[in-house]
């Protein structure tokens, strides 16, 4: 592990400025999420790079939940692996939370009731604040007391770490603009915590000091960003079945559409969202809408993909575009629905029975969720095939600090090869699956536009003219063309992101999706210790030819991913010329967002033992 600045309970000398982690342990259903978000946003508004990770249970009320705020002047957005200040509000997780505090860190607890012994943690500063007592004295209503306890610790943490109270107060006013009655009690609770610390404790050696590093950034969840991408891509139809952690994607789409897609003249919706009876139906609807020429999508998670598999194969073979967002969660089976993982890589790549290979796009952060969402619709229509956007719970449901999104007004959607009525007039006869241009991509038509464009779509064996067949050659000809189409897509999909080490090296790290932030930071840390790595992040499958070239230029490539079986590594072995022993798995399938410390430690250890 990298060397951390040591701060001790007594007589600490070094102050961490804009570079520390606050973790809040609470009970879910107590309204802590909004208080924690407020704390994070206040730091962001002070111009200091920050990221918040919500680690929550699959439950509505009563189970342990955590929120981790990382303040990082250098703009790192992954979990660092440290906890500098723990706000331990949950008696049930107290012992665990106490243990999690990094040496020299601090712990704040509710001193209304005596806490169990400190379990030998003499190396941390402990701060007791009688939060329950203060809010019980200050507020009459039982629910208000619970909610205000959270605001009280926000006030306390603000004083302890130097967060500007004026910024928090402005945020409170903004938050409750629609319900001004709530401003006063929130302000009061905030000051209860603030005043108690001011009167009883010194500030901690953790300081948030104003910077100017967030001006061009926003805080946004990946699902909301992907939803916005769907709007900009011109998607008009979405079907879904509610499933954590994808639900907020459709919520976001609905929210954006209500503002941007209601016809001002007629009041009618230029979009349609159907909540399906299950995922089988959701993908069926998406296929029906795409078949009819509308851009449409479904957000889901792993269990949904499992259910959709038959239809995915249908869309693949009948060559119907479709966009599927898989916001991955922990599997197998129901798994841990509110934890994150990258466990669906192989599932998405080869979903459905028979020979099937799909296009998969891998966003690494919300900005890429927006961008790749638009690209996904283009790819689906260009290649007339299902396209997966493989996000995950960490990207989808956490607020990330990312650069503001941009849009080029000259960008037109790539609708692929479509023969409209005027084109069909000029055609003698239209055949749906004929490879007219030799690129493996046939022409399609929109049902109802022109009599000449009518064709019969089927998942049963068909020849290049679209007719039913059981003839081996005619069947193989179509299947081979579909493969060719997929292979040719590789170099036209978003290419990999690469970063070359400052010093020449034969070692590299390759990763995908949300591991990006942690891996890049780990590379930075390890470079300081003299270990250098080139870096590549995969953005799409089929793999761009640059990926194979990159692997071949290195003796060892660490493949970092969040699953047990090294699925990305398997896919690389399967689909590139990479040698098995060249690719070393670094796996974290704990369900937690990628952790810089863990990745750096494992890779360092491997390099040291292997020499």
């Amino acid at each position: 592990m990298n060397v951390q600045t040591q701060t001790h309970a007594a007589g600490s000398t070094s102050v961490k400025v804009n570079d520390f982690v606050i973790k809040i342990g609470n009970v879910n259903g107590t309204g802590s999420a909004s208080a924690n978000g407020l704390l994070m946003k206040a730091i962001f508004r002070m111009g200091v790079p920050v990221v918040g990770k919500n680690l929550f249970p699959s439950n509505i009320q009563g189970l342990p939940t955590w929120y981790e705020i990382r303040v990082s002047k250098d703009g790192w957005t992954a979990r660092s692996g440290d906890v500098d200040l723990m706000v331990a509000m949950n008696l049930e997780s107290y012992e665990q939370d106490l243990k999690a505090v990094s040496p020299g860190g601090a712990l704040l607890y509710d001193s209304t009731w005596p806490r169990p012994k400190l379990h030998g943690r003499e190396d941390i500063t402990v701060i007791g604040v009688p939060l329950a007592k203060m809010t019980n004295d200050g507020f009459a209503n039982a629910r208000t007391r619970v909610l205000m306890k959270n605001m009280a610790y926000v006030g306390a943490v603000a004083v302890l770490t130097g967060i500007d109270m004026a910024v928090i107060q402005t945020l409170v006013e903004d938050t409750f603009k629609a319900k001004p009655k709530l401003i006063e009690p929130n302000m009061k609770a905030l000051m209860l915590g603030h005043d108690y610390i001011t009167q009883n404790y010194d500030a901690l050696p953790l300081r948030v000091e104003p910077m100017d590093e967030t001006r061009d950034c926003i805080l946004i969840e990946g699902n909301d960003a992907a939803a916005l991408g769907c709007v900009y891509a011109g998607a008009t139809f979405g079907a879904w079945y509610p499933i954590t952690p994808s639900t907020s994607l459709m919520d976001g789409f609905k929210n954006h559409c209500r503002k941007l897609r209601v016809d001002p003249e007629t009041g009618k919706n230029n979009y349609c969202i159907i909540q399906a009876e299950d995922e089988l139906s959701a993908i069926g609807m998406v296929i029906g809408a795409n078949w009819n020429g509308a851009r449409s999508f479904t957000p889901t998670s792993g269990p949904g993909i499992s259910l959709m598999s038959e239809f995915i194969g249908f869309a693949y073979y009948a060559e119907v575009p479709a966009v599927l967002f898989d916001i991955q969660r922990v599997g197998p089976s129901t798994g841990m629905p509110t934890r994150t993982q990258q466990g669906d890589i192989l599932l998405a790549a080869y979903a459905s029975h028979g020979d099937t290979k799909h296009i998969v796009l891998f966003p690494a952060n919300p900005k890429e969720c927006f961008e790749l969402s638009v690209d996904a619709f283009d790819a689906a229509e260009r290649y007339q095939t299902p396209v997966f956007v493989l996000s995950d719970l960490d990207i989808g449901m956490n607020e990330w600090m990312v650069p503001r999104f941009e849009w080029d007004d000259s960008r037109q959607p790539d609708r692929g090869k479509v023969l409209h009525a005027e084109d069909l007039e000029k055609v003698e006869k239209f055949y749906r699956y004929f490879d007219h241009d030799g690129d493996g991509i046939p022409y399609r038509t929109i049902p109802g536009e022109h009599p000449k464009g009518a064709y019969f779509t089927r998942g049963s064996g068909h020849n290049k003219f679209g007719g039913y067949t059981e003839d081996s050659e005619a069947y193989q000809e179509v299947l081979d063309r579909i493969l060719q189409k997929w292979e040719k897509a590789a170099d036209h999909l978003p290419g990999p992101v690469m970063q070359i080490a400052e010093e020449p090296t034969r070692r590299a790290i390759l990763t995908v999706g949300g591991c990006d932030a942690a891996v890049r930071e780990a590379i930075d840390r390890m470079a300081k210790d003299g270990l250098h790595f080139d870096y590549l992040r995969v953005k799409a499958f089929p793999f761009h030819s640059d990926i194979e070239a990159f692997i071949s230029e290195h003796d060892i490539v660490f493949v970092v991913e969040q699953n047990r079986d090294g699925q990305l590594r398997q896919l690389l072995i399967n689909e590139t010329s990479a040698e098995k022993n060249q690719l070393v798995s670094i796996l974290d399938y704990s369900g937690m967002p990628a952790d810089t410390g863990l990745i750096a430690r494992r890779i360092t250890t491997h390099c040291q033992t292997e020499g």
Partner: protein
């Protein structure tokens, strides 16, 4: 076994308003067994479409898997069709109809496709009042897998190799009524005079029109002891309400005796004239429809238009869809400008 002939269609080549004959509404040759009830239904589709003066390319045929689902290739060769996966036709129809409500959606399914594997989707399409004609070609048996009972097999019905069904049948008519379908009918592949007008009325109905058509399987379910055989159906079928569809521009010329006919204007134009052969039933009365089915249970098979409600909004209306179909809206109207994105971004800062 396979018929090499085109499905039986009326041979006289009258041209309709579009200058098309019935031939223009046919599809590829059927590969079903000779005498299959489904081929008669195919012929009924051809006639109904021709007589309604509908342009073939403005129809979309959607089906699942099974003998029935194959038939969408056998009519309306000039229409687009999509033969989807088993039991999932309703979902594909839902997505298609949502983005272009201007086409005529014809779903063809079977008793296995709709009442077993696809029961869920069938039910939910009804719940949404999806604007389509949904025809179940019901033969009580799995044909393509050679004769297993389907969920519509009646108690006591005998399979080809002697097995007796003891499980309760799922009756699509009663199920559709229970779930709130707005057009519920039953026909018989052997009675085209009744079936063709039902198909026409179903096509013109606003909302989900389900027609359960008893369609004997000549190979696996047409023997003595089967309750879905031709003989059994001819013997017990009981026409209750005969529905004549009259297009908008045609005056009603037929003479109906007082109290025997009800004229119902259809939302999509034209009207349905219901001739009561059983004067006790009013198909606008849902409770009466349930009573009718109950009263005839075990004795006769009530056919005709059992229930109709033209007042309920269909899926597109419930979703406030625009007049221009979603698949035809210009991209510039769908994609906000960069300036809008800039403003949106301020909300996340």
């Amino acid at each position: 076994m396979t018929s090499i002939k085109k499905p039986l269609v009326d041979k006289h080549l009258r041209k309709n308003r579009h200058g098309l004959t019935q031939r223009d509404y046919e599809g590829v040759a059927s590969t079903l067994c000779a005498g299959c009830g489904h081929d008669s239904i195919t012929a009924a589709f051809v006639r109904a479409f021709h007589e309604l003066d509908l342009e073939p390319h403005r129809a979309a045929k959607i089906s699942g898997i099974g003998c029935s689902s194959k038939t969408t290739a056998y009519f309306l060769g000039q229409s687009s069709g999509i033969n989807t996966v088993h039991g999932r036709m309703p979902s594909v129809a839902t997505g298609a109809a949502a983005v272009n409500p201007d086409l005529h959606y014809i779903g063809v399914s079977g008793d296995g496709d709709s009442l077993s594997i696809g029961l869920g989707q069938f039910a939910h399409a009804i719940r949404r009042n999806l604007n389509m004609l949904y025809v179940i070609e019901n033969n009580g048996v799995y044909g393509l897998t050679k004769g297993q009972f389907s969920a519509s097999a009646d108690i006591g019905s005998r399979a080809k190799y002697g097995e007796i069904n003891e499980q309760t049948p799922i009756d699509p008519v009663r199920l559709a009524l229970t779930l709130g379908a707005t057009f519920v009918a039953r026909g018989f592949s052997g009675d085209k005079e009744q079936l063709v007008p039902l198909i026409k009325a179903g096509l013109m109905h606003r909302g989900f029109a389900v027609i359960d058509v008893i369609s004997p399987c000549v190979t696996f379910n047409d023997h003595v002891g089967s309750t879905k055989s031709y003989a059994h159906t001819y013997k017990y079928y009981h026409p209750v309400i005969h529905a004549d569809f009259v297009p908008e521009e045609n005056e009603i010329t037929a003479d109906y005796a007082e109290g025997e006919a009800i004229t119902l204007p259809m939302h999509n134009g034209g009207e349905v004239v219901l001739r009561k052969t059983d004067t006790s039933h009013d198909p606008r009365d849902r409770d009466a429809a349930f009573d009718l089915l109950k009263n005839l249970e075990g004795s006769e098979i009530p056919t005709g238009l059992i229930y109709i409600d033209e007042s309920r909004p269909e899926m597109g209306e419930m979703n406030h869809l625009p007049d221009t179909p979603l698949n035809a809206i210009n991209h510039s109207k769908l994609c906000p400008r960069s300036a809008t994105l800039k403003q949106l971004m301020d909300g996340y800062a």
